[in-house]
Symmetry: D2
Subunit: 134 residues, 4 copies
């Protein structure tokens, strides 16, 4: 848990808005890409899991702090760290960093709690195979 | 088929990009909202249909012409006209108009072909109940 | 401030994900549409303001709680209430409700803080004309 | 022009819809990411160019054919080939391929025409420095 998992991202036109900066909702997309890659790296394949068990993680809380803005063509690095594992939910912290050649700046950070829901959409215990990995 | 079905839309921050204009992919979102409302108005409820039959329309062709740009806060009107109905697909034409107080300008037009796919994702005949409506 | 400003929304395909529910980031889009309409209703036109002063509101904090899921075709009502007005930022609370014929359920709620940034992207005082309105 | 420029992409939750497949508008996002990376690889930096000249490419036509669906976690490869260079616009062809370990399937292909617009949003000649590169 000491070193966060990093995932690089590039800012494209689709991510920006008429203010010239990354639209605020899109950081939640960036964070989810990074969480997905973190889970994949750990060996948790969400699509396979969903096809087999019908269950999936659903975000129940997201607390976001926006510190600086990113712009078109910016290169970002998104980090993911596991903060807490419960029987029914996990809590992680994520940060989006500007990762340019000459500068390194924290753009946005979030605490995300995701609960497990079963095939019927009901909250349930996280499958043991995932708990073993986390 | 003589009068197109119209659906009003407002341009929000989410729709724009750093060029200050509506991002080009978002017209496909606008067109789909308008198609959905057109189908709903005709009595075709996609979510109910999907739950009951597992089938849905999937777009197989989209030909777009971008003529002018829309900006934040612009009021648009999107029109939908049925061009052709086949056994397995329908073809419609759609237009996005700037619908401001003093101006009326064609922004984007599209010809869209959507085919029916069944619960297994295979192309199939459009259900008779939909054909009867169209 | 006693009655929240309400804004109706429909869930389209674009809003959903492969889990069959509204994608979590899209509530931030819904909340922003509702905030924009609330500001417009109060007489604050963001695009005009941006063209005239170069300044705009930028979200600095967003705390989201996801309680229930929305699905394709669902009709939502998004409420906006002003919680606090400062010299450089405002804080509002927003809720997304399922607003179907027979049910009414809180789906997601958020506390949003937005700060004013000037044409150079620097934090600054909210223009007096906006403060007078709020 | 003989070998297309390839760009890898992963399908995330944000890209999918309730049909379980990639939402049709998102291929335009994928194609634009690939075009941007193709231009970057050629030495055309859109953000720098926009800051210096105020001008940018704006898509004027997009003709899309959807052949197969992509799903969550799928690995795609998007190709970009220059078809034609004019004084005011370029035309390119793009394809999105499923690029899994065992299969390779064409999902979507597009012909895209993009025109140059100057700082005032008026169509104009593509800057010579870009023409020299293309």
């Amino acid at each position: 848990m000491s070193t966060p998992f990093g995932w690089p991202l590039r800012v494209y036109w689709e991510d920006t808005d008429a203010g010239g900066i990354v639209y605020y909702a899109n950081y939640l997309k960036f964070f989810e890409r990074a969480r997905t890659e973190w889970l994949r790296w750990l060996g948790v394949h969400q699509q396979a899991l969903k096809q087999r068990t019908g269950g999936m993680f659903v975000v129940s809380r997201a607390d976001l702090r926006y510190l600086h803005s990113a712009r078109l063509d910016d290169q970002l690095l998104v980090t993911t760290s596991l903060l807490q594992v419960g029987r029914a939910s996990i809590t992680i912290t994520q940060q989006a960093w500007l990762a340019g050649a000459s500068e390194r700046m924290l753009l946005c950070e979030a605490t995300i709690r995701a609960g497990w829901v079963d095939a019927q959409g009901k909250p349930g215990r996280i499958p043991q195979e995932i708990l073993d990995i986390l």
